[in-house]
Amino acid sequence: MFNLPSSYLLLNALAGAMLLLSFLIVGRVRLASMLTWFRAQSVLLALYAFISAVALSEKQLLITALLTLVLKAWFVPRLLLRTAKQSGATERMPVYLRPTIAVVLAGALAFLAFTLTRSLLSPLADSYLIVGVSISMLLLGLFLLIVQRGMYGQMVGFLLMENGIFTFGLALTGGMPLFVELGIFFDVVVGSILMAALSYRVQAVHETVTTDRLRELVD
């Protein structure tokens, strides 16, 4: 996809770093440190969009890069931290698994992701590594959604999934038209605000945000 060999090397290095950061997110137990690594990952994603913009000479990807930086590295994580603090939620995220076991399982999921990628692309293709990493991010996000008992942890899982999808889109198709990108950003931001608002209300009603207490509606 990219003709410049130096940018190609750099992109693969970025992909590796993003995968590493996904593991760090999964292995953390405190919201603040999860979000720190999530921010770092979003910065790398923005950098990736920026390099793609230059390599493909697509100006609109610059806007994508900027929005990623502003919304995902700054606004959304800050919103989550603030709501968590204000509502007085506990710092430690309640999880179903020990962090070490979670990271081992996450490794297995990443392996699965690359197996899937091989059925989609040849391992020799330029974008093989980054597509594999993006699917790993997606699966790890889903994994967090399942193993996290708290609403904030589940939100981080959802955001990690979103980052995976964004990376996937960039790597595979070179980005969507601008108005679609803007629409997707809008949905992600409004979704995050709504989720934060809901968790705030749940904290107010139940005095905890673990979804264990949300067990009323079962047949």
């Binding site: 999934m161 969507m176 979704g191």
Partner: protein, 488 residues
Amino acid sequence: MLLSLLLLVSVLAGLSVFLASQERTLHRIVLTGSTLVGILALFVGISALPTTPHLFGGGWWYVDPFAALLIILIGFIQWTATLTSIPYLHEEMHEGVVTWAQARMYYLLLQLFVFSMLLTVISNNIGLMWVALEGTTLATTLLVAFYTREGSLEAAWKYILICSVGITLGILGLLLVVYASQQGGLSIGHALTWTALGAAASTFPPALMRWAFVFIFIGYGAKVGLVPMHTWLPDAHGRTPSPISAMLSGVLLNVALFAILRYKSLVDASLGSAVWTQRFFLFFGALSFLLPIAFVIIQRNYKRLLAYSSIEHMGLIVFAIGLGAPGMIAAVIHIVGHALAKSLLFFGTGNILLRWKSTKIEHVGAVMQVLPRTGTLFLLGVLALLALPPSPLFLSEYLIVSAAFAHHPVLILVLLLGGVLIFGGMINLLMPLLYTKREGVESPVSSEPWNLSHTAMTLHVLALIGVGVFCLTPFARTLIADMVSYLL
């Protein structure tokens, strides 16, 4: 032009709530806005119904006859839902359950919900359609959490999380379709449209399109409420204010299904046959029809009962689509019949809930005696939902059974048996609700004045009879057959 106007009017109808300073003006403004949206939608929909698929608004909007049908349903049901909301919210505000600010928010979100559904249905751009479909989830999340009770928050959390994750998987499918189209020689800027994709779909690599369809079906299927991605649905539809439940169950599920159908025709064109995708529809349709039976029979909450019935009906519709063209004709009729009957019933539950303050079946009794008007209309809705002629559901279910017998005789017998169980279960639960005077249940005796909700329910009964009779005419047969031919 008219389509863009329709979108604009629905946004303005939502925003105009901020002009109101007291309840009377609020309701007048809301009613005017909703009526305008309804008239425009009916006009646009009916004029596009008997034609070939058309591009509008400089290529931004793409309306085929099935989309036109959905525009009509959205337009009509948002109007009757608004009619029902007016007495419903009036009573809730009178009792102090709902504040003035909440009521305004309610109508704003209602129209934003309508706007995003309309945008989903008419978008020619697949990315814009995705954004709009996620918009329907976002617009309704706060409506699900409208009553700040424990259960409502739980329902809203499940709703936004499962539907957003579903739709995120959907975008993975969307990106794979775009990638496949690039492999087929389309450039991204110009070829993100249904029209361009549809024209070139036979050149897309089948392996990629298969992967794409799996993600689309799972992701958007969660929003249709297909088993096993359905767990959010009974909670969300059960906890929402009743007029909104009516729109969620009656219209939104079909809008999500519409999105899957658009992708289905692309995948079929790429694979060269519909057999592969039909297997998905048959399997998940049958599963979604059969699994809710257990929950219908043991149900103790009448709103959840209706919600499970929606899963089961969507299952039947999806199953019918898996049967190919004859089944799809049945599916179209079933969509209309189910939308009208289910929303009628949810309107009725609003009145019942206001009177008895409980959604538990055991807390309610002798509705016929206490609320004779609601009770009678509710009974007619139940009969229509259980497919008694002249309900359109009778015709559609008859067509499904006869279409399925040729190729899947065993499966359809199992489904028929399931249908009998559901029929019995619904009668067993709802008839006592309507007729039995329960001991220990206070049945306040007072007259029930006619209000707008009864007008709305009556309109639905008339529409059901009208559609049921209309579908028997030869004109309707060619109309629906044409509609289906563009979906294949």
